[in-house]
């Protein structure tokens, strides 16, 4: 089948009544949770995962993916109106979005970020369409050495890029990988670190880790910071019209943002948050008016929002073609596929083409729906932001408990959520970032497995990994990243830079 036939078949799958309905439900709930400050895409996807157990795999994935990219659209709303990021990857949008609100131009900012999100999302989808089939062809020839090198590079990049404290990022990855070793060893069946708990033989439930680290810890932190919300201005259609100058200044940042987002999204391990930080930094550097940044410059919201959504869509590329999650949230989505008995990887596109092409087609539909949800219906989300947090969080706690319990009908997992929730809260107080931990946890067992296989093939000779072109290049880039982080640490120490963040970020 050629590309066009696949695309057509994908749309045929995506426009079935059931898939359309769940796509709408996904993007609607995604925008809803994204707009609420404190619930990121990761917590939203984990929380809604149990709702999809009884659906067809394609439908389940269409809905969860809708939640993921919908949350990135919705997240900018509270960044702009409240100066509170709806999801961590919208945090950068606060820098210039909130000043625009203070100048009474919230409407323009909301309109502009929706357009940027749509553009970035579209760019990511086109990349998915064109790159995925190519990568699958390569991936069939990949051996354990290549898989090992790709994952190591992704893990080190996730831990070190944009971090003020690379050692802490790396520590989170390593702790995640250690937690990933819990459970029966694949080749010998020895139950590692199970301490006699039968429940730990299959490993720690990753839903419990995700919901604990990202859901529960966020709630504890948010109750403590339960500030009175500022007055929310109403948004009319008239107020959404940008000035001619802003229209002229917008396209290039949007294009650059989409490119950056697509790159970091497609790279396993690094996700949308990193893409937005880098997108913003680059805009500030290339701008002829860097002094306007932080005071409501339109470039400062266009580039990160475009990068954000491009990264989300591009994160599906490594997940669907290599079986390596592109971001922490993608890891949860991959878990959803596994629950339905589908193994993501190069074989997926051949064995279940309807899943891949149907999902890709649903992205177009979902992004169009989001355009409608976020421009004509923006008033709904503005009103939603007026619901007090004190009423929402007890409901979220119940949903988290029910969701985790249902996965394995296990009270043990509910207690694990609690443990990881408390640990996540304390780690964030200690300025650790949590997304690298989850990525380490997910990739850890795959890294171990591929490393063991590679060493078996090459008789324990590590240099053979360096001689292969793809794995050698990636490992060399990893070494450069590590050297660069050492430089960052030494520089920070010399400058005695105060720590920029009071608490660590949660998800991706």
């Amino acid at each position: 089948m050629d590309l066009w036939a696949n695309i057509a078949a994908g749309f045929a799958t995506a426009v079935s009544i059931e898939n359309l309905a769940y796509c709408f439900m996904g993007v609607f709930l995604g925008t809803f949770f994204g707009a609420l400050p404190g619930i990121g895409s990761l917590a939203a996807v984990s929380m809604l995962l149990p709702l999809t157990y009884y659906l067809e795999p394609t439908t389940a994935l269409v809905m969860l993916a809708g939640v993921y990219y919908g949350a990135e659209y919705g997240g900018s709303t509270s960044s702009i109106l409240l100066n509170l990021p709806g999801t961590p990857s919208n945090a950068i949008t606060c820098l210039d979005g909130y000043p625009m609100t203070q100048q009474g131009r919230a409407g323009v900012a909301l309109f502009a970020t929706t357009i940027a999100s749509f553009f970035g999302g579209t760019f990511g989808i086109i990349l998915l369409y064109t790159l995925a089939p190519v990568i699958v062809q390569w991936a069939l020839a990949f051996g354990p050495a290549e898989y090992f090198a790709i994952m190591i590079f992704g893990l080190v990049a996730a831990a070190t890029v944009t971090q003020d404290a690379p050692a802490k990022g790396l520590a989170m990855v390593v702790i995640g990988m250690m937690l990933g070793t819990v459970g029966a060893d694949l080749s010998t069946g020895i139950a590692r670190y199970s301490f006699g708990y039968f429940e730990l033989h299959d490993g720690i439930s990753f839903i419990a880790i995700a919901m604990g680290l990202f859901g529960v810890s966020e709630i504890i932190l948010s109750i403590a910071n339960n500030v009175n919300k500022p007055f929310i201005q109403s948004v009319t259609f008239r107020s959404m019209i940008p000035t001619r100058d802003e229209v002229r200044r917008s396209p290039m940042p949007m294009v650059r943002g989409a490119g950056i987002g697509a790159f970091f999204g497609a790279l396993p391990g690094t996700g949308p948050s990193i893409a937005t930080f880098i997108g913003y930094a680059i805009e500030k550097r290339v701008s002829r008016r860097p002094e306007e940044f932080g005071k409501g410059a339109i470039e400062g919201i266009m580039s990160p929002e475009s990068a954000n959504n491009a990264a989300v869509q591009a994160a599906f590329i490594p997940t669907m073609t290599l079986g390596i999650p592109g971001s922490a949230t993608m890891a949860v989505m991959m878990g959803a596929l596994l629950i339905h008995g589908i193994q993501p990887g190069p074989q997926l596109m051949q064995q279940n083409p309807d899943i891949f092409w149907g999902l890709a087609a649903s992205f177009w539909i979902g992004n169009l729906l989001l355009l409608i949800l976020n421009i004509p219906l923006i008033g709904v989300w503005v009103r939603l932001l007026k619901i007090p947090y004190g009423i929402l969080y007890p409901a979220v706690i119940c949903f988290i408990c029910i969701g985790v319990y249902t996965v394995r009908t296990s009270v043990f997992d509910v207690m694990l959520v609690l443990m990881f929730g408390v640990a996540g809260y304390l780690l964030r107080l200690m300025r650790f970032e949590l997304a690298p931990l989850l990525i380490g946890f997910i990739l850890g067992p795959m890294v171990e497995e591929n490393f063991k296989r590679a060493m078996l093939i090459y008789h324990g000779d590590f240099t053979r990994l360096m001689e292969r072109p793809i794995s050698g290049t990636l490992l060399a880039m990893t070494a450069l990243l590590l050297l660069w982080s050492v430089y960052v640490m030494v520089r920070n120490r010399r400058d005695h830079r105060p720590h920029a963040r009071a608490v660590g970020e949660a998800d991706d």
Binding site: L51, Y54, A165, M178, I190, G390, I397, C401, Y405, Y425
Partner: protein
């Protein structure tokens, strides 16, 4: 002003401690050789790397001023109690009562919540959970003690 940053020292100790734990724990599993690695090889190496990273993090807190962040004890205690109560109640008296109890306890973490708000919100949440998860989605969870 303090000349050490206690956050970095504690972070380093924490990471090194976890590393040590996994390093020692791996002693029970066969290491194997480099071309035929046993189940102990990777956890033991990760433990060693963790201990090293912990030391590096600790040095970052040396001769840098800083202070410990404040722990929000009340929300922390309320959320812990709510989830424990949920785990205890669910298999014994069913979802509706467990959700009711968990909402009440978790709302005690918010100093601004009055009794009236706690009562109405928690009843509403347990009814929503019942309708959504049992009646609409049909999850295999007992709704009341009669279903167990």
């Amino acid at each position: 002003m303090q000349r050490i940053d206690p956050v970095e020292i504690l972070s380093g100790l924490f990471v090194a401690g976890i590393g040590l734990f996994f390093f020692l724990g791996a002693a029970d599993y066969p290491m194997g050789t480099i071309n035929r690695m046993g189940p102990g090889f990777v956890p033991r190496s990760l433990g060693a790397i963790g201990m090293g990273l912990g030391l590096i993090i600790m040095t970052g807190g040396w001769r840098v001023p800083g202070r410990l962040p404040r722990v929000a004890w009340r929300p922390l205690a309320a959320i812990i109690a709510a989830i424990v109560l949920f785990a205890v109640l669910l298999p014994r008296v069913g979802l509706v009562v467990a959700a009711l109890g968990a909402s009440i306890l978790s709302m005690l973490g918010n100093p601004l919540a009055g009794w009236r708000m706690i009562a109405t919100t928690s009843v509403a949440i347990s009814v929503v959970c019942w309708i959504l998860f049992i009646l609409l989605l049909g999850l295999p969870i007992p709704a009341f003690w009669t279903d167990i």
